[in-house]
Assembly symmetry: C2
C-alpha cells in the first residue's frame, strides 16, 4: 500500500469516526408540518424548536393552546433574520399555536390552518408514543362527506360533514345509527374530521369490531336566527342563551336533513349526541330537553358550569326528577376530561356528583396527561363510541 | 298642538330629512368574510376597503393574486391603530390576498384560509353581477367526500375529494362516468371544492339537465416518489420533470382506488381529465400519453409552454401524428383562459394553432374580463362539463 493510499484510508477512517462521535440532532419535523417544512421540530423529550423568518420585525413571540407552553415565549433573532425559540416541554397531542409579530397574530407558513379561536390558526401535532388508535391504518375507510343545506331558521346555507362508515355504499339497504358530534368554542364543523381525526378513530374501532358501524354528523355549533346579531366567536355565557336557536336548528333542520339524505335508523335508541367543551355544554342544554330523541350522551371536557345543574330535580323541565325512569330511558351519560385541564375535571366531577346525588347513573373517564386539546377529545371519542348502540 | 309637540314633530321631520340626505355607505362586507366580520368591504364599483389592526407595526401593505390589485398597496394607520387602504377597482371573482406587516406575510383574521402559494392564504370573493351558475341553489346536492388512501409510490397517505352527484345513493346500481379535475401550482386538493365551487357548479348543471351526472375526483397535484426530495411548492419547470411520478400515481393508484370505491363506468369513453394552470400542463403531459384511458380533456389556463409541443408530430410518442385517427379517438380537447391573463391566452392560442397545423381539432373559450383566478376556472368548468360523456 503506498503512503498516498494509506493517508487516504486514514482520512476516510477519521471521517467515519468523526461522524460517529458527533451528536445527531434529536429534532425531527413535526408530523403536522406541510410537506418539506423543517420547523417546528420536535425532540423525543418534548422539546420543540420553532422558527419564523422576519428580518424587519422588532419583536416576535410564540403563543399557543392549552398544554403547548405555560406563557408566551420570546423568540430571538439570528444572523439570517429568523426568530428562534425552544419550548422546554410540550404536552402530547394537538395544539393550536401562533406567532405575535410586532403585536399582530401571525400563522406559521409551515403549518396547515385549523379553525380555532374564531379564525384559521396553525397547529402542531406532538407525538403520542404507544398510541395509534387515531392514525390512518390499512383498514377499510369510511368517507367524510361535505353536505350543504339551506337553513330557514338562520336564513343561510349551512355545512355539515357526515361520516358514512366502511360498507355504506356496498350495502345499499342497510341502515345505521347516528351520532351527532359537536365541536368547541371558536372552532367549526371541520374540527372533528381534521384535527380530531374522527374518521380514523371510527375506521379503526369498526375494523376491530369494537364499535358498530355508525353515521357521524359534524355540524356547526353556531346558529344565529334571522334578525339576531352575528357573533361567530361568542363566549360560553352567550352560548347558553343561544343554545335555543341551535336547538331549533338541530330539531327542525339538521336531524331531518340527515335522516332524509342518509340511511339512518330511526328512533331515539339509534341516536347519540356528544360534544367537546362548548359542544359538551350544548349537548347538555339541547340533549336533556330531548330525551325523546336521543339515548346516548357524551360530554368531552364539557363546559358545564354549576348554574346548569343548580337543582337537578327541576333542571330541564325535571327530566332527572324520576331517577329510575331516567336511568331506564337514557342508555348512557358519559363524561370525560384530560387530567391536566383541572377546571374541566372539576366541572365533570361536580356535574357527576350532582347527578349521582339525584340518583342518576353516569360514567366518567380521565385522559392521563392531556390538556384542553384535541387528543383528550380523540381519546374520549375512542372510549365513548364503543359504548353506543349496543 | 302645543309648541312643545310642534317642536318635537319638527325635530322628527328634520331627523328624517337628514337621514334622507346623508349618503349611505356603498360598502358591504365581502361575501367571503367570516360571519360578523366587516372588512374587507366592497362597493358596487369594485372598490374594496381593507383593514388590519396592528397598532405596533411600522409598515403594513396589502398584496394579492392576479386581478385584485396591480401593485402592493401601502396602508395607512388610523387613530385606533388599524391600518386602512382602498383598492381602486378589483376584478370580479376570487382573489388570494395577504398583508405584509413589517416584512412578514400575515393572513386576514376575518377571512377563511384557502390553500394557495404553498400555504393557507386569505381569499376575497368579488361579486359577479348577473352570474349565479357557481352559487348554492335549492336544487338536489351531491356530496363531496374526503377519501384517504395509502400510496405505495409516494410512501404516504394521500387524500382525494370525490364528488358523487345527486341521486348517487338513491340509485345504488347506477354507474357514472368520471372526471379527474386538477388544481394549480401552490394549491392543493381542497381548491376545487372550496374556492372553486365545483359541487355547486355541477349540482346546478345537472339540475338543469345540461350536464350528465358524473363523479369528479380532485386529488393532490404533487407527488414525490420514495427517495425523491419533497418540493411541495415546486415551480412549473420542476413540475414538467415530476409529472412522471404523478402519472404513475394516477395510473396505478388514483384511478384504481376510485374505480374500486365508487360506482364508475369503465372504459376510456367514460373518463375525462382537466386541470387549471399547472393542472392544465399535467393534463397534457399525463393525458396525451394515455389516450387509451381518457377521451375528454380540458385545459383551463393551461401552463402549456412552447417546449411542450415543439413538434406536434413527434410529441407524446407521436399521438398527434395521425390526425384523423386522433380526432376520431379523442372526443374533446377543450382550452379556456381569462381575457385578462394575457400570457395564458397566448399559450392557449399557440397550442391550439400548433395542434390545428397538425390537423388536430380543439375548442377554445375566452372568459370575458377575468384574470388568472378561480372565477376563470369556474366558468371553464361550467362550459366544459356539459360537453362530457355525450
Amino acid at each position: 500500500m503506498t503512503t498516498r493510499l494509506l493517508l487516504f484510508h486514514s482520512a476516510l477512517l477519521l471521517m467515519g469516526l468523526t461522524a460517529g462521535w458527533s451528536q445527531p440532532s434529536p429534532f425531527r419535523p413535526a408530523a403536522s408540518n406541510l410537506p418539506g417544512v423543517d420547523y417546528p421540530a420536535i425532540a423525543p423529550d418534548g422539546r420543540v424548536i420553532v422558527r419564523l423568518k422576519a428580518p424587519a420585525a422588532t419583536s416576535v413571540q410564540l403563543q399557543g393552546g392549552d398544554g403547548l407552553l405555560k406563557e408566551p415565549l420570546n423568540l430571538v433573532k439570528d444572523a439570517e433574520g429568523s426568530w428562534n425559540g425552544t419550548i422546554a416541554s410540550a404536552g402530547l397531542g394537538f395544539h393550536y399555536y401562533w406567532f405575535t409579530v410586532d403585536g399582530v397574530r401571525v400563522n406559521d407558513p409551515g403549518s396547515d390552518a385549523y379553525f380555532g379561536y374564531g379564525r384559521p390558526t396553525s397547529g402542531i401535532e406532538m407525538p403520542t408514543p404507544g398510541e395509534d388508535f387515531h392514525l390512518l391504518k390499512q383498514v377499510p375507510h369510511g368517507d367524510v362527506r361535505e353536505r350543504w343545506y339551506y337553513s330557514n331558521i338562520t336564513d343561510s346555507w349551512r355545512r355539515a360533514f357526515v361520516y358514512t362508515p366502511p360498507g355504506y355504499d356496498a350495502s345499499p339497504k342497510k341502515r345505521y345509527p347516528i351520532l351527532y358530534l359537536l365541536h368547541g368554542a371558536g372552532e367549526n364543523e371541520r374540527g372533528w374530521s381534521l384535527q380530531g381525526h374522527m374518521s380514523a378513530i371510527l375506521d379503526n374501532l369498526i375494523a376491530d369490531k369494537r364499535a358498530v358501524p355508525m353515521i357521524v354528523v359534524m355540524d356547526n355549533g353556531y346558529a344565529t336566527a334571522k334578525g339576531e346579531s352575528t357573533t361567530a366567536a361568542a363566549g360560553l355565557s352567550d352560548m347558553e342563551k343561544r343554545a335555543a336557536t341551535l336547538e331549533q336548528v338541530y330539531i327542525k333542520e339538521i336531524i331531518p336533513t340527515m335522516e332524509a339524505n342518509y340511511r339512518t335508523l330511526r328512533g331515539r335508541e339509534n341516536r347519540a349526541m356528544a360534544g367537546l367543551s362548548m359542544g359538551g355544554l350544548q349537548t347538555m342544554l339541547i340533549g336533556m330537553k330531548h330525551t325523546d330523541l336521543f339515548s346516548y350522551y357524551g360530554f368531552f371536557s364539557g363546559a358545564i358550569r354549576n348554574t346548569v345543574l343548580t337543582d337537578p330535580k327541576t333542571a330541564f323541565n325535571g327530566v332527572f326528577a324520576n331517577a329510575s325512569a331516567f336511568n331506564k330511558q337514557v342508555k348512557l351519560l358519559w363524561f370525560g376530561a384530560g387530567s391536566e385541564e383541572k377546571p374541566f375535571v372539576s366541572m365533570m366531577t361536580d356535574t357527576r356528583r350532582k347527578l349521582s346525588d339525584a340518583g342518576i347513573t353516569s360514567l366518567g373517564y380521565e385522559s392521563p396527561g392531556t390538556y384542553h386539546e384535541w387528543h383528550t377529545w380523540r381519546r374520549c371519542l375512542h372510549e365513548f363510541a364503543p359504548l353506543l348502540f349496543k
